[in-house]
Symmetry: C2
Subunit: 425 residues, 2 copies
């Protein structure tokens, strides 16, 4: 089954290289891109064309880090730093997901929101509660997007109501959940998720490593978001050279066969950057959250110069918005301030680079995702920017810029994930 979309096609060829094909033809077969053409490709003469007129067609956006259960308090409680924020707002909210009926209501709202966003791929934290997490996975599967979902693990330094009885109990619960879900969905899969070092005992980390290896699963967690958090990890793991090494000691910091994404990475030092580079650890850059919780600004330019893979994360509810367009503009702003206030050796991100991070940069965590080059999985979003009125004739690049800075979900006219169109009613 070959299908052709027509429209103004934009995608990243490289971090600084935006390919634009005005009124071009995007051809895909099943779930794979076959090619992008500026003239009608005669080879495909007999296949159906969906003509999107003057709309923009871009790869689906990738959210490398968000918390589904926190969507219920987005826009609230950004007056504290990370550790107090967890205790005051986050843990009390997450404890409600012990009740499946609460989770049903809250996850219906979250999955409906992400379905109607431009996001087609996401790495998502749930809570530790199995029934709620499975329900979330079912709803995400129905939403049409592709996601990796983590049942969260915590067995220390958190309220009793969210603390698993011990590392063995946590292991058993995680294993049952993995067995239940790993082959059940087309687009939704489990990811190993220690919340972060402070809430996970050594034994729990060893157990999670065992599960990671046994089922060949990817890993997501948090790293070096906040200075008090980093000091706490230092106290908890005095033997570890850095926060990164606190994961590394258990084999949960990338390296061969362990696709790993770490959220934030605001304060990583050079030793950690080397380890991230060496182990191919992904950075989920979450600028809005870092602004809201006064965490700081991640040195994204430095990571890119080291060849580290960086994607963007909405990090709801540290961030208030699920939009990865918003994350792109936040990332540019963050990089401007980093250059201005912290180190002018690291130049600001360009529009091309921000777009890359939110598509291909994060997409590569999912495979060949986030671009329209031949062989890429076909995720696309069709954008009608006609409500962004202007008096000037705009290039496609300029229109994309305005979509990134100024549009909202109401501009999305169609969404495709792995070749299937999502019903956006």
């Amino acid at each position: 089954m070959i299908t052709i979309l027509k429209g103004n096609i934009c995608y990243s060829e490289a971090p600084d290289k935006l390919k634009i094909v005005e009124h071009g033809y995007l051809v895909y077969s099943e779930n794979q891109v076959l090619g992008v053409y500026s003239e009608f490709p005669e080879d495909y003469l007999y296949f159906k064309i969906t003509d999107y007129g003057d709309y923009l067609i871009i790869p689906g956006l990738c959210d490398l880090h968000t918390h589904a259960p926190q969507y219920s308090f987005r826009g609230l409680g950004t007056d504290l730093e990370l550790l107090d924020w967890l205790g005051r707002y986050t843990y009390p909210e997450e404890s409600k997901y012990a009740q499946l009926d609460y989770a049903v209501k809250a996850y219906n709202i979250f999955t409906n929101a992400i379905k109607h966003s431009a996001t087609t791929r996401a790495c998502i934290f749930a809570t530790l509660h199995t029934p709620a997490t499975v329900y979330l996975m079912e709803k995400l599967e129905q939403s049409g997007i592709v996601s990796m979902v983590g049942k969260v693990n915590m067995d220390r330094n958190c309220p009793a109501i969210l603390r698993q009885a011990d590392a063995k109990a946590a292991y058993n619960a995680a294993r049952s959940w993995i067995l239940d879900t790993k082959d059940r969905f087309d687009n939704t899969s489990p990811i190993i998720t220690p919340r972060f070092i402070p809430t996970c005992s050594d034994e729990l980390m060893r157990n999670l490593k065992q599960l990671q290896e046994e089922y060949a699963l990817p890993v997501q967690s948090h790293l070096s978001e906040n200075m008090d958090e980093i000091a706490w990890v230092k106290e908890l793991c005095p033997q570890c050279e850095t926060y990164s090494h606190a994961y590394q000691q258990f084999g949960l910091f990338g390296g061969s066969g362990v696709p790993t994404v770490m959220a934030h990475c605001v304060w990583c030092n050079d030793r950690e950057i080397d380890l991230m580079t060496q182990n191919n650890v992904y950075v989920a850059h979450c600028p809005q959250s870092n602004f809201n919780l006064a965490s700081g600004i991640a040195p994204v330019r430095k990571y890119l110069k080291h060849g580290i893979n960086v994607g963007l994360g909405s990090d709801v509810a540290g961030g208030c918005h699920l939009s990865i367009f918003r994350a792109m503009s936040d990332a540019m702003q963050a990089s401007n301030l980093y250059w201005r206030l912290i180190d002018n050796l690291y130049e600001p991100l360009s529009l091309e680079e921000a777009f890359y991070l939110g598509t291909r940069g994060g997409g590569s965590f999912f495979g060949n995702v986030g671009s329209f080059e031949k062989g890429y999985e076909f995720d696309a979003v069709v954008i009608d920017d006609s409500k962004l009125l202007t008096t000037n004739p705009l290039s496609i690049r300029e229109r994309l810029s305005r979509v990134i800075y100024c549009s909202d979900d109401s501009a999305i006219r169609a969404k495709y994930v792995r070749g299937k169109q999502v019903e956006l009613t």
Copy 2:
């Protein structure tokens, strides 16, 4: 004519004091607030009540700094710093307003956008072109909001097409425009507007001072936005102790009888802060613009501690959004980063303070504006936040927080300015 609105009423009593009256009664007569009551006020038994049910009713928002002609390129060209940005994007765009038909199209878009926003008061830069500026004022008058509009003055250091022939010609043009517009509108009035020191000769500044005095007009300009700009002002005015003194030498930096607002104030030193305090100069804090143009972060907490009046500005097109709700959340984020990265003696702004800045803080530039205390001019916005779904029962303060962080113009159900309801069709 006494009118009563019923709803969840929120307004600032002081920078850190948000007054909330749940299901309260807001009474006004003509254009003035008479009072806010938690129980139905028996004195007003025979007057009409408009019941807004569970909606929020807040004072109209105040935008202390924006550029109407730049709305046409919002979301574009934020990849340069101020001076290059002016030359590359801003001046070429502003030169188009020499053509009235272009201005008509562009200003129709701008005024329609600000009309449908939560803003009820604004200080607005136009361009130097009289017909276009008069047209803008006519459209703003029709929009129902109250605004001060500046025909911009420039007679040096800008492209010939935007440079007035000489200071005398600029004076004559400004004077005619003032005479034409100062008594023509109910809600729209001229404000003396030197663009900034680099584009205004000494003679032009003296002429503008003369006009300011002759017609007792307020003043708006730019101050200390960008480090290259500041260095340039130092070169141009070697005799002046600071950038502020370059205005002060002409009597255009506040002081008795000269209501003055300066946009940005990112890099003001202590000597300037003293002068601003002494002269009651208003700061228009424009955080989004400061992020986009890599200008830096204004020390708002420091200004507040000095008793300086601070309001918020959208600064389109340095900023991409006209929303002063967005400016509130940006201001909180900026203050978080200032505290984290620059000086931890200056604590972040609270939600209450950000709300204050965008209502009463900026509003006081227009008189008794921006609150619902007795005697205040009656500007109000009615917000339906029901689309911001949640599973939690929320306090009115929490709902206001979500409106600030997450809502858009579609949440606005009604808008009143000086006691008159604006038709939002």
